[in-house]
């Protein structure tokens, strides 16, 4: 198995892999990955509730107004941090470990350490969120945990980096698939960004507006260099895997990786256009954002050409449906992001809910949907049981899919109007506040839908962990067994879920 595999073809990589080896790798991942996954779902549900409270407060300000710890300025960052560091990071870590083990073709090492790291991570996120709610948050967006939480959180990554390097060095497959590049990159980027930004913001290492640029250098890159690589690594793995055909072009995927690594870094200052920054700095941010078209188009083309001719399988496979939804959102959110960096767009969209809609298109519609899809694939293999109900998976998909679409459309339109009105000095500010209320309601309704979806998912995961599903005979698909059997003729055997 040491000959290089052309075009990073997961089909030849895995379907020639001994079923026994695969089962052994899955078993080695079981406790660790399930623990990180289960924890992430807990934070997802908690984060959704916090989100709803924050959303309702924006149109109904007296709602729970007497609770100091639930005031909007605390619930909102509590929502963001539980979602980013609880849900997104923990689900990402689960997928990262499993993908690494599968792609390196070795059992997961240091299992006890990684379970302990999971407990530690949960404790840190819990303490950090509590600190925000009692008023010890930093009010620096995306870095709200006090420094004595964010530094220990970033420090755990020394273990993760060491583990990743160990696995890569001991790998039994010489060829590195593009997913491994992304995953390896993300384990180095995240702690560098998190610890670096914490030091810059809490020490005299940077002053004044440089703390603001440090803030956005970090916050933009948490999505760009931590969650995006994991999301893309998953899409690069699962789309070909479920379809049973190779990724369209290996070389495009490598170009996509290095251009992302080069350009995403520089885009963060577009959150400060029009602000008190030297003009050259804003220009750099705008150029970086524009250059992002390169990695985005390469990834979009690569994924699309892999999918071409197989779109009918979206009817069948939950994994594929969630992941393709996410991958398409990646193109959309990235194009929108690049355009947002244009001064003319930024003049209206900045400081409004338009930006909030954009952020959710990235973290939710792209990253979270891909994380759901990945978990639908991975968990049955770890538990050796199937998902209990395809109907609940449908509820999950449609609630979240319609929810985020409604969220994005409502707040994008509302935010754009808000910006247009704000730039017209003849409209009194309080009028704008009033005119925004219907759009804010649409967000609460969309958020309720998404939360229902999350509860459906939490039930599915709970039942899965209790091993209530059937034995792993055939995957839980969206359509009936008979239809599935017919469709299975077109889906690679053993490759679907």
């Amino acid at each position: 198995m040491n000959q290089p595999v052309p075009h990073g073809d997961p089909r030849t990589e895995f379907d020639t892999m001994d079923v026994g080896v695969r089962a052994k790798i899955d078993r080695s991942c079981r406790e660790v990955v399930l623990f990180w996954y289960a924890s992430s779902v807990f934070w997802l549900v908690l984060g959704s509730v916090l989100a709803l409270v924050a959303s309702i407060k924006l149109h109904t300000p007296w709602f729970m107004a007497d609770a100091e710890w639930l005031t909007f300025g605390r619930v909102r960052p509590a929502h963001l941090n539980t979602m980013i560091y609880g849900w997104a990071s923990m689900s990402g870590m689960g997928t990262l470990l499993w993908l690494m083990a599968r792609l390196c073709k070795i059992p997961l090492p240091w299992r006890e350490t990684m379970v302990l790291a999971g407990f530690y991570w949960n404790a840190m996120v819990a303490i950090g969120t509590f600190q925000i709610l009692i008023g010890n948050g930093t009010s620096i967006e995306w870095i709200e945990f006090p420094w004595w939480i964010s530094i220990p959180l970033g420090a755990v990554f020394l273990i993760v980096i060491a583990l990743t390097i160990k696995m890569l060095r001991e790998r039994r497959e010489k060829h590195l698939y593009v997913s491994q590049w992304y995953l390896f990159g993300s384990t180095i980027w995240f702690p560098f960004l998190y610890i670096g930004a914490t030091i810059l913001i809490h020490s005299p290492a940077a002053i004044g507006v440089a703390k603001g640029t440090a803030n956005w250098w970090f916050a933009h890159n948490v999505l760009g260099l931590w969650l995006t690589p994991i999301g893309l690594a998953s899409a690069y793995y699962f789309i070909p895997k479920v379809l049973g055909r190779p990724i369209h072009s290996y070389y495009l995927s490598i170009i996509g990786f290095w251009t992302l690594a080069l350009f995403y870094n520089w885009a963060g200052t577009h959150h400060l256009i029009g602000g008190p920054l030297p003009a050259w700095l804003v220009t750099v941010g705008t150029v970086g954002s524009m250059m992002m078209f390169v990695p985005v188009i390469t990834v979009a083309v690569n994924h699309h050409l892999t999918m071409v001719g197989n779109f009918s399988k979206l009817r069948v496979s939950p994994t594929l449906r969630f992941i393709v939804f996410g991958a398409m959102s990646y193109t959309l959110v990235s194009v929108q992001g690049s355009l947002t960096a244009l001064r003319s767009v930024n003049e209206t969209g900045h400081f409004t809910h338009y930006t909030i809609a954009h952020a959710h298109l990235g973290v939710y519609s792209f990253y979270t949907m891909i994380a759901f899809g990945s978990m639908y694939y991975v968990m049955p293999r770890l538990v050796e049981r199937e998902w209990i109900s395809s109907r609940l998976i449908k509820v999950h998909f449609w609630c979240c899919g319609i929810g985020i679409a409604m969220y994005w459309v409502g707040l994008s339109i509302g935010g754009w109007m808000q910006g247009t009105w704000m730039n017209n000095p003849d409209i009194p500010f309080l009028d704008i506040v009033g005119r925004m209320i219907p759009y804010l309601w649409s967000r609460s309704i969309a958020g309720t839908l998404m939360t229902i979806g999350h509860f459906a998912f939490a039930i599915l995961v709970w039942k899965m962990l209790r091993r209530e599903g059937e034995w792993l005979v055939e995957p839980t698909l969206f359509i009936s067994r008979k239809e599935a059997a017919e469709a299975a003729a077109t889906v690679q055997p053993g490759a679907s879920s």
Partner: protein
């Protein structure tokens, strides 16, 4: 390309480059900008910017942080011709880096659910307005979606209370509270108002830069 150290070096190089480009090099520029003497319109001179006083304003900034005001209020005035900040009266001029050299950290903000506060100390010099507005924004700004911060006050119905020395007592307007109701701000509320009143970006851009 299957060599781990090479990938690692590339990955680190890209992020270090942006750290220098976006944070460390601009920071070198800002480190040069210390407060300096500027001349006001009437010919008098003053040092700008001014540090927050450590008794009320600096603790007030901590209340601003703890309550998360930054999630709805920015503190930066956009330049003329880019948005309508100056037309709305949010500032006499655009904000520049020197305005922030003493702010650790600056709360620039990215959202304007509420108006910009870079010059709220100029726009609203009245203590009572701030106290009523923070107690319940509906009193001063009907239709606002800002949360009421009643938990930052002692509220008494009926007879006028005797507050600790230095604390103001404010009666709520009759249109808002039918019975005679008095509010006494806590130390936190007083500090917050001191901080808000300190927010002023003065002098001309050319003078400041």
């Amino acid at each position: 390309m299957n060599r781990i150290p090479l990938i690692m070096a590339g990955v680190l190089a890209t992020v270090i480059a942006s750290l220098f480009g976006l944070v460390l090099i601009p920071d070198m520029q800002f480190q040069q900008m210390q407060p300096k003497e500027v001349m006001a319109a009437d010919g008098s001179t003053a040092v700008y910017p001014v540090a927050l006083d450590e008794y009320n304003e600096a603790p007030g900034k901590e209340v601003y942080r703890a309550m998360g005001c930054v999630y709805c209020h920015s503190q930066q005035v956009r330049p003329e011709g880019f948005g309508a900040d100056i037309e709305r009266g949010w500032g006499q001029r655009r904000s520049v880096p020197r305005d922030y050299v003493l702010q650790d950290p600056p709360y620039l903000g990215t959202m304007r659910t509420g108006p910009d506060l870079a010059n709220i100390g100029v726009r609203q010099p009245s203590d009572d307005w701030h106290y009523l507005h923070l107690y319940d924004p509906q009193i001063t700004s009907p239709g606002s979606v800002m949360p009421p911060f009643k938990f930052l006050y002692e509220t008494t119905v009926g007879e006028k209370p005797n507050p600790p020395l230095g604390s103001p007592v404010i009666q709520l307007p009759e249109s808002y509270a039918s019975q005679a109701t008095w509010i006494v701000p806590t130390q936190d509320a007083m500090n917050l108002v001191s901080y808000l009143k300190s927010l002023k970006q003065l002098f001309d851009v050319e003078d400041v830069q």
